[in-house]
């Protein structure tokens, strides 16, 4: 039987070293790579087929819980085992939803058992992780079989169109399969609703202007628009949301 391939994700070099040692003791597994955070892990997973990911929970840039949810948008999601020293909240949720985890310092026998019964994250388990951590630092977008990670801080606005939501950054636009309401709930701190179909990053607003609307239902009327920092786009502020102009 071919060896199962592993990816170790932990921000501490010594913690990765220890997992490597233990895995080689157990035998039958091959460590394909190491990553210091979730973003590095996703980047590695684009090119390599990995069977099991061992991921720490607390990491900079992208933590284990967010990584778990982005893993699901991969074509063949690897199995996932969390490793953690201590995280009361997460552990409770893991217990409740039978999500695999190992407590550091990790024992060889425990690791062997966990590796043997590793399985992909089930939808309800992913749901549980979602409730554990509502907000993400990144959006994962599937494009031509790959997963793109977009730092939320790069997003200037979201606009709903038919089935998708357009995500606009300074350089590009992407399509995301979600609802504006979900985004609004998760990122109420950074984004503000200006229209039934648009959410704008608070930091991206450079000003407001009165303009005559040229298209859509309200064509011909004058209305307030939001000016976006760095790009020429403008977004209409609907009458219902005009109070936000005063608030910002």
């Amino acid at each position: 039987m071919a060896k199962q391939r592993l990816l170790i994700v932990d921000d501490e070099p010594l913690a990765r070293q220890r997992l490597r040692d233990l895995v080689s003791d157990i035998g039958g597994y091959e460590v394909l790579g190491e990553a210091a955070n979730g973003v590095q892990a996703i980047a590695l997973l684009q090119h390599a087929q990995v069977d099991i990911v061992l991921a720490d929970i607390r990491m900079p840039v992208m933590d284990g819980i967010e990584l778990a949810q982005h893993l699901r948008s991969l074509e063949k999601p690897p199995h996932l085992i969390f490793t953690t020293a201590y995280d009361h909240h997460a552990l409770q949720a893991f217990e409740l939803n039978a999500i695999d985890y190992l407590l550091k310092p990790i024992r060889s026998e425990r690791l062997a058992t966990a590796l043997a019964k590793a399985r992909p994250l089930q939808p309800e388990q992913s749901q549980a992780l979602q409730t554990l951590q509502q907000t993400h630092a990144h959006l994962s977008i599937q494009e031509r079989g790959k997963v793109l990670l977009i730092p939320l801080s790069d997003v200037l606005y979201f606009r709903a169109e038919l089935k998708y939501v357009t995500v606009r950054t300074r350089e590009k636009s992407y399509l995301l399969e979600t609802s504006l309401n979900q985004l609004e709930q998760a990122y109420a701190e950074q984004f503000v609703r200006i229209h039934r179909n648009a959410l704008v990053a608070r930091d991206a607003i450079s000003g407001f202007e009165k303009q005559r609307i040229s298209e859509g239902e309200e064509a011909g009327e004058t209305s307030w628009v939001v000016l976006i920092r760095g790009i020429p786009d403008t977004l209409t502020v609907s009458r219902r949301h005009q109070h936000m102009i005063k608030a910002t």
Partner: protein, 339 residues
């Protein structure tokens, strides 16, 4: 280290502030009803100012005299000390009243007696209040609270460090040894009875051991810079005042950054106090591991039990850095604690 006299410590700023506050409340109460019906805030404030200005000179004079006399009085037996406080207050008030009578407006004899009566009642109320206060913070209770407040280490730190030491055993057994030795010493202090003060140099050594362990895990991500100048290293400070702050700095300032960062530690005398300042990079906005309030609250409470109002702890953000400052009086503790 605690003084045994039951007399309130008149060398403590906190006592003076409390007495002044008590008088403000009493005077405010006195002026609430002036015989007229209805409310008139302006009249009421004027009345308060008028009474206050009459009350202030004897009060301040007596407080000043007590501050000067405290080292002597505190060595006397309790009853004698109490009697001397009364005597001091009455004679100073009488002296002021005589001066007022003589140079400003003559007072009727009845008024003089009224004044003396008020003075005695005032001293009685103040001493009773301070005695109650002292009981509330009596050594037994204060010690019980200090014990409950003993610094707690994050489980996160314990297990991660053990994990790091374990991973060194195969490749670098000597580094693993040092790491475990450092940990043993750190935990010995953490589990010790930490109610007594320790020399500043000891706390600094402990912090260096702590940082060694963290350096093991975080490697070049953790940078730190000690700036120590003119240290009174034999000065005594409450134990584990600095270490929990460093732990916070590492947990919130360094760990969430993939590039790591620099922790600046500055300790130097500043006027009559010792200044301890720790600064770390602000965590990225997305970091949600809140809850550093516990350690800060804990330290604040311990400083208050040890120094009452004379020690300060403040935290603020400047230049993308999070800064915590502690000021501890350099005077010997026996002059500070009022418990």
């Amino acid at each position: 280290m605690r003084k045994t006299s039951r007399i309130p410590n008149f060398r403590n700023l906190g006592i003076h502030l409390r007495v002044l506050l008590l008088h403000l409340c009493l005077l405010a109460l006195l002026t609430v009803y002036d015989g007229q019906s209805g409310w008139n805030v302006t009249l009421w404030l004027n009345e308060l100012a008028r009474i206050g200005s009459q009350w202030a000179p004897p009060l301040l004079l007596v407080m000043g005299a007590l501050t000067l006399a405290y080292p002597v009085i505190s060595r006397w037996p309790y009853r004698l000390a109490l009697a001397s406080i009364f005597l001091l207050a009455i004679s100073l008030t009488a002296f002021l009243a005589y001066g007022y009578h003589h140079w400003i407006t003559p007072l009727a004899t009845a008024q003089l007696w009224q004044l003396m009566l008020l003075c005695v009642a005032d001293v009685l109320v103040c001493l009773y209040y301070l005695d109650l206060l002292q009981r509330a913070y009596s050594p037994a209770i204060a010690e019980a609270r200090l014990q409950a407040l003993q610094a707690r280490i994050r489980p996160h730190f314990l297990f991660n460090s053990l994990n790091a030491a374990l991973s060194l055993i195969r490749s670098q057994p000597q580094r693993a040894e040092t790491a475990l030795e450092d940990m043993a010493e750190l935990f010995r202090v953490l589990m010790a009875d930490n109610r007594d003060l320790v020399p500043l140099s000891q706390e600094i050594a402990l912090c260096q051991q702590y940082l060694n362990i963290e350096k093991l895990r975080l490697d070049e991500r953790l940078q730190y810079d000690w700036q120590l100048s003119d240290l009174p290293s034999e000065m005594m400070i409450p134990p584990l005042i600095l270490q929990p702050l460093l732990e916070n700095a590492v947990y919130h300032g360094i760990e969430p950054q993939s590039q790591g960062g620099m922790i600046d530690i500055e300790i130097r005398p500043s006027g009559n106090s010792l200044l301890l300042r720790i600064s770390n990079p602000l965590p990225p906005r997305s970091d949600k591991s809140g809850g550093n309030k516990m350690a800060l609250k804990n330290i604040r409470e311990r400083l208050r039990l040890h120094y009452d109002l004379e020690a300060q702890l403040r935290q603020y953000e400047a230049d993308q850095r999070y800064i915590v400052e502690i000021l501890i009086p350099t005077r010997p503790l026996s002059e500070v604690v009022h418990g």
